[in-house]
Assembly symmetry: C2
Homo-oligomer: 275 residues x 2
């Protein structure tokens, strides 16, 4: 029996911040959340959201988060400057800038808001799918480290097979492995769990990277707590691939069909020739 020991989840290492003077915070990239070049963009979104969420005068819960990926983040330390741009009755507008050695790498704009008892309804219907265990676990390339923190059960559109496809849709049941509860930073990261949709269309990997991502949070903290460590259903697709930039949208549902978040991103890609 071990005593007084506990293993920190690697995603909590992603979110670990040192508080500097004023609103500044310092973080570190986490090896388990490395992508092929630099850290997983979802981890960057998560830590920027966390840097804002951790401010003592933050009120409410995340409503919207836009993150731009301006330059590759080097492995190691980074600084985040946070700024409260505007306070309204029901929401706050925040900005954050991630720098390394003074060089601007990433920016974020976030809206936090207080939800109220008003008419509410979900119009987007969860795709009709079976239970998670009815689907095979995706086998990811060993080089893409961050994906090994997620157990994805492929309902549709798994890892590229070498064959081009007419549709870029992927639908996964997904949860953390090892298990971890869902919170807002985890949801912000999961919104970026999908490989670039160009890989799905071409059936192969090409140079590609998110330029800007916007996530709208629909769930409140109580709803995320009810999800706990369970699977969520995540589905994504591209709309247009045009001259080196494409967009992709994602929806994230609880197992019970609650739309937890919708997310959109624009991605840079290279793909010479017809295919």
């Amino acid at each position: 029996m071990t005593t007084g020991q506990c293993t920190r989840h690697p995603f909590d290492a992603v979110l670990e911040l040192e508080f500097l003077d004023g609103r500044g915070v310092r973080g570190r990239t986490v090896p388990e959340y490395a992508n092929m070049v630099g850290p997983f963009g979802g981890a960057t979104a998560a830590v920027l959201l966390r840097a804002i969420e951790a401010q003592p005068d933050r009120v409410g819960e995340p409503v919207a988060l836009t993150v731009t990926y301006a330059a590759p983040i080097a492995y190691g330390e980074f600084d985040v400057d946070v700024d409260l741009v505007r306070i309204n009755r029901t929401n706050q507008h925040w900005m954050a800038r991630l720098t390394q050695g003074g060089e601007m790498k990433s920016t974020a704009m976030a809206i936090f808001g207080t939800r109220r008892q008003v008419w509410s309804d979900t119009e987007e219907v969860m795709p009709a799918v079976g239970e998670p265990h009815a689907y095979p676990v995706a086998v990811w390339p060993p080089l893409v480290r961050f994906l090994h923190n997620y157990e994805a059960r492929v309902v549709d559109g798994g890892p590229p097979t070498g064959e081009a496809a007419p549709s870029s849709v992927s639908t996964f049941w997904v949860r953390h492995t090892p298990a971890r509860r869902l919170d807002f930073p985890a949801l912000a990261a999961l919104a970026d769990v999908f490989f670039p949709r160009i890989f799905a269309r071409l059936g192969r990997l090409v140079p590609a990277g998110t330029v800007s991502m916007t996530t709208y949070f629909h769930a409140d903290a109580a709803e995320l707590e009810r999800v706990g460590e369970d699977y969520i259903l995540a589905t994504a697709r591209g709309h247009r691939f045009a001259g080196g930039f494409f967009d992709q949208s994602a929806q994230l549902f609880s197992r019970g069909g609650a739309l937890l978040a919708t997310s959109n991103q624009v991605v840079y890609y290279k793909a010479s020739g017809l295919q």
Copy 2:
């Protein structure tokens, strides 16, 4: 016969800027583009995009634009500070802040990029609809001035009728009236032409306003030039209305079916009781 006279389109008045020292510009709200409270959010998006587009060292065309609406803009003059945050090989990251009397009203983040000859494809299919003249022209409330600059032919989901509806979808053929060519600022404004989807669901007007909007531009300038003054097909819907915030997405197509832009926004709303 009049000589040397020409009538400026009111949308070109929206885009008229005075260049100050450095990167700053000064603009003015235009009465024809007033919304119920303050200027039309689409006009704000357009002028912020224009303030960046007009910078002498801007390279490429708009790829992404996120605008946050932090506080109501008063009718009259405003200042925009523009900042080039990052230059990459194929894209530039820009920020802009709209202030009035030093008070922050709106922020923008924009990516400009250079499109290249690479594999390209549109996956999103334009809804199957008839020609514009097969549909009635929408009759807007006289109070919403900006809408009178657009001729919208209602394919589906016209102005609120007093009846609640299970779907928030609206689909319009839309063009400027009087006629005006389509350019990037005009496209940025058109992405916001839809009334808040909560009105469609409840069948009536409730207090609502865009908090943040993100538009991805898929068309290049040549494609917009081919559209010219013609109708575009614009369709929008909401996904989840939750505790005072909802999201809505929009797609804008050329008559030939080219996906010109996709846009998403999160909107604040009030709606007490069950309906």
